[in-house]
Symmetry: C5
Subunit: 356 residues, 5 copies
């Protein structure tokens, strides 16, 4: 049974991206505030390891200053601390973070938009490849399968998770994407050329459509064009995904931002120490032991950087990443649902309740 | 009577999004200023609960400081207040808010653009499905109904308000979107697969178009393609709406911004207290009792954040949300108005007044 | 004579949007500087009433402080002034203005791009609806008229100026857009449904195109599709215009910005007073009587806000608004010019000067 | 000889926009630094007149202060200077410049993208209008000429340089764009309507294509549609160019930015004077005679503003403007090169070196 | 053997753009941190020469101040240093860098999107040009070759690396892109017109498609249109590449930014010197000998500028540039792989494992 097989992958749907849209549909008092009490995909989950290390380093320095240093070295330390405190603000990290995260968010959505959805193709197949016989059904189902295969091959190139699930042709064969014949064709071509073979299934799909046209299952060239254009559009989506994967934000930009943020906080460990209030340094009038504002600032800037880290390559298995693994299953099931409609699943044309 | 039924939903049109375009069409003195005296959709309506809580907390602290603390603890409090006042500016919330709200506004408009409008389809149906007999009329009306059904099914997935109105197939049946036959088909498919069935009505609509072509009501494949393309475009809009709903701005970004703004004001309660002028602290030369600037600042920043809160998911029933409930009614009525035109509603071709 | 009638509206073309492109085509010394000496559409024209009120209030306070207050209340006033002067900078209005105006400018251009131009349709009609007889000419001219009617109906919904010119169907009838027959059809439909009837003329236009196809004036379905697609594109533009008009920038954003800017200057009236130099307050070493910088700052920020005010709804009759009234006239004349070309206005095909 | 004539305009190609892409293809030490030693299109070329005036004014004030003023007036001047120096930073010109220049750059590229390139049309003509006889050649060449004429007419409306080259129909006739017959048609229509006649040549071009279809030179309606669509696309580009030209950035925005920048520097002349170090004013500890930083700041801000000035209307003859004059020549030559290909310029179909 | 020849260029694929997407697929502790330990394409590799020069100059000044200057000149130097330190912050380079880099990043991705990928065309050729005989194969292969030739000719105009590989027609002939006949046609045309001949191969390709249609290898005009449209789309991509290359960011913008950044650091050499702590200048309480913060700031700002330098023209051979040379090889191989599919490489249509 086709359905049984494909819905077998349903458990993957459990692990989904973090969704909170429906918590913020309407504005209510504290609508955003309630979002703060979530762990999955939260800033806490991402920031705590860095935070822990920061706190550790901060208190090591603090203890050394308070208990280990002799008086005159304390004075030197205080001067260094004040010097650091004054100068570390020379780097406008909020600025560079704002622009950097803007670029990342734009790219992230561009990647989403590039994701291929074969639903339209499935409807077109169901609609334009006429006939309820086996050959028409075979054409519809095989085109759908080929396009799914092309999409899966693309996903294995960009998403380590999908690669882990389908490391080789044999696994695709086992999952039903490939037949033995097709596998041997792909392997023969792999020996002929080292270029990736992602686009071959799309070629095969077009060929079946062309054959269906010649055999009269597709009645006119316009319908053939509609289907072929849609297959090519899906191939284009796959090409775009590979492009996003190949040309990420230049490494140099990511490095500049990362170094700026982390060095800022490295110096913050020195500069944000509470100095002896008895020395009357400006802005050091009280000793609170817990550097509340430094921690808040750390939380804020590192959290902002984590926005970038979680979006820069959404092809993984992070909380915010696109769920390619479950998408693969979803596509397979949805295309069969639409492209392989039984005649009894098409309602008869009857007058509705609005008919006078 | 078809019109009677559909315009029955007209009362939904009452509850509309906040519109003020026509108040600002022309620049006049105080054109923006007059906008300040509105309550619906206003910043006051959104900010007052937070503001109330802020004022309450502020004066509790203020009273404790002024009347409850002994003199020496007052001095400690003053030091803490000055410390807080100095350091809480370390977090550039205006910056992060500016970038965050920019992203939200862009997405909000993207969502608007994704909304499906079936008007063009209705005109094409009226134009290309020839014949005034019952079968042609049935084809036109049913395609329009199916597309409306697909749109409503999508809306129930993204908008809680539409979901509340149509919680199940029975309600769609009662509202005239579904016939019994179609309902049983959908239920049979629900048992076969757990994927959402939003796209099935579009498939059915294409099928009717194809049948109309074969029966000669549509005369050429080009016209069929035009109609099918438009149905697919509407399906694409529905898919985009689901996409916007699934992948919102990462939770981590929203959390970082929310925490930054609210913690800023939490500390502001301490740092913005009027300290005893007699102590001659810098910038504390006068005691005004009412912290005008803190309140203004609160109003400003929280108001800015509320812009984001009100736009982040416009699929609800907020003052600024898209009115899906009335849109459903509007679409139904408009498509019937256009797709089910009577011959007597098409004016005869006569020479106009410009004819020489 | 057709031309006579349409060019009768030419006087509207006098009142045009402010154009200065041709003054800044080439960079010359003081090229932008020369733009400063213009009044129409200028910042002076927009800012002076606010400026006047600001100056008035400023000098009232100033006179009270200098001449009315006793010495000890002067000291209190000075403290308040210094307090205000220090704290009013807490709101970063330049930031919020920058982001807000960016959004407004983007939307303004989006609105321009949505404006329907029927020129391409007119050329297509002239080209694809063959025949110089009356019936072909009638088809061409009527399609052009219907599309113009649809555009005018849209304009009356978004532009108060066009609404004032054409308040009802009778006025459109008088202006030649409607025939009596068409007017009665529209009125009959108005009784049937409350939805706006803007899209009906586009439906009628498609119908005429379809009839022309069946009568052989349009020779192939491809040409029919080309014309129908263009009519649908124009309908889409009209729908977009309505969308821009319905969903403006959320009121809350506009209110936040307006309140921020105006409250900033309300406090500036107190904080920017010249205090008695004899009191030796910091930054108050001289009394210039005229607060040059406050006025400049006022001019600058309020001017920046006016950019937003003048662009937020360009559907009016401001100096910077789109000239819908003259556009209506222009569209009518241009479509007839192109769609109703006489055969003698098509040059014969002869060898040009480049022919060997 | 056709080529001879058109390449006669080649000298215009000499005066080209400033190109430096190929200097920065690869990153090398000082790659950007080397760009600093260029004059054409450089910031020096644009800034020096303003700079000169600034220096002149600065030293006039400086000399008056140092040598003309008596001691007590010197003290007053110093107070004014300190007051000005303190307050002129109230206007965040870097902010407004950043946003303003962003908008300008976006528009500038939008204008570039709107520029019509007839190359594709020429290829389509060469490909789809079959026949090597005179009539087919005449059709191809004339369509190409008409489209070029439409483009030139558009250019004369937006670019003063092209207007200067072709002030009237006679000049277009002399240049070979118009025949006498066409000129008289245009003149007759100019008497009929005051609307610009830019789109008429596109109409004529479509007519010739339609005639070629009826005469069998174009074999199928699909090919006709392809060519007509491309002609309409070029007309659309011309319409967009006119739109960019009509609706520039609102004058009020340009005025606000210009006034902000220039008034900033007007006050800088007072505020940046070196005051007598003997008076011990803060930040006035040394007298360098040359205000290095003010000059640098002037150079920087005015230079930034000049970016806007040079891009705000790229339809002129500036160093950074689009070269419409040479483009006209280029288009003419390129379209004839492609559309008027001789049969001997099409290589025969032979097996290449990769053939097994 | 075709494959042997084309994969011979495979060694070019070695030198690829810097990729790190797969290192950041999932968020892990220190995910960005690990990126810091890379050299290729890193900020270190780009910044170190400037950094070295900066350090050198800094210590020369430092040594002069500490050891060469007499005491009174030291005092003068200290005053100059403080003056410089105070005033060099007048130029907001973070601001201008943020906006400038934003523009550059947008353009860089626009260039990527403009890059032509002939894969879709190859699939269409394989699908729509029927027949396994030599003439059909020749048509498919030659169209693919012509389009590749057009792409290579474009690349030689924008990428010095490709120009170096194919300096003249002879090299293209040797590489198999050109036949002798085609070369002589191109040379004949070079004598006729100085315009670049990049678009001619696209014209030739269209001609072969047209011929294939007339000879019945392509069965319907729709298929011909599909292929021709795709060829024209690729030509459009090539035109866009030339456009990006011709109109870069205005030189004046690049100069302003470069001068601002470098002059900032030129003065930093004076202003960031450690002054004698014994003199009690503010913010000079300690002498650390190594100007840690200046170096960090230098690293940060110059690194940010290098982002721009590496992206402003990605047509070279930098670490971050598009790999045109290997792309040329890839395109050739991929198009032959897809367009020249053997019948035995098309799998037979068999029931898959999902078939009930």
């Amino acid at each position: 049974l086709r359905e049984g097989k494909t819905t077998g992958g349903d458990k993957h749907l459990k692990k989904m991206a973090v969704r909170y849209s429906h918590d913020v549909t309407d504005y209510r008092l504290g609508c955003f505030v309630r979002l703060l009490f979530r762990w999955r995909g939260s800033v806490y989950k991402m920031v705590w390891p860095d935070m822990l290390m920061y706190i550790l380093l901060y208190y090591i320095i603090s203890f050394v200053y308070r208990f280990a240093l002799p008086e005159d070295e304390k004075r030197v330390f205080e001067k260094i601390s004040i010097h650091v405190s004054h100068f570390r603000n020379l780097i406008p990290i909020s600025f560079v973070l704002g622009f950097y995260v803007s670029v990342i968010v734009t790219r992230w959505w561009g990647m989403y938009v590039s994701m291929p959805w074969p639903d339209t193709l499935a409807i077109l197949l169901s609609n334009h490849v006429h006939g309820q016989g086996n050959s028409a059904r075979l054409a519809r189902v095989t085109v759908a399968r080929y396009v799914n295969m092309g999409i899966v091959l693309t996903f294995t190139m960009v998403s380590p998770a999908v690669k882990a699930k389908f490391p080789g042709y044999q696994d695709l064969l086992d999952a039903g994407y490939l037949t033995k014949d097709e596998k041997s064709v792909l392997e023969r071509l792999d020996r002929r050329s080292k270029q990736h073979k992602t686009y071959l299934p799309f070629l095969w799909a077009c060929r079946i459509v062309d054959q269906a046209k010649r055999e009269g299952m597709i009645t006119d060239p316009i319908a053939q064009k509609t289907i072929t254009d849609e297959i090519m559009r899906l191939r284009g989506c796959c090409g775009e995904l590979l492009g996003w994967d190949d040309y990420n934000i230049p490494l140099v930009y990511t490095q500049v931002v990362t170094i700026a943020v982390y060095s800022f906080f490295l110096f913050s460990i020195l500069g944000e120490q509470f100095l002896d209030p008895a020395q009357n340094y400006p802005n050091n009038i009280i000793d609170l032991y817990v550097p509340v504002f430094s921690l808040l600032q750390f939380f804020f800037y590192i959290g902002w950087l984590k926005v970038a880290e979680s979006l820069i390559n959404p092809f993984g298995e992070d909380d915010h990443d696109f769920e390619f693994v479950s998408l693969v299953t979803r596509h397979l099931e949805m295309t069969y649902l639409l492209a392989d409609t039984q005649e009894r699943e098409i309602p008869a044309l009857v007058k509705d309740t609005f008919w006078e």
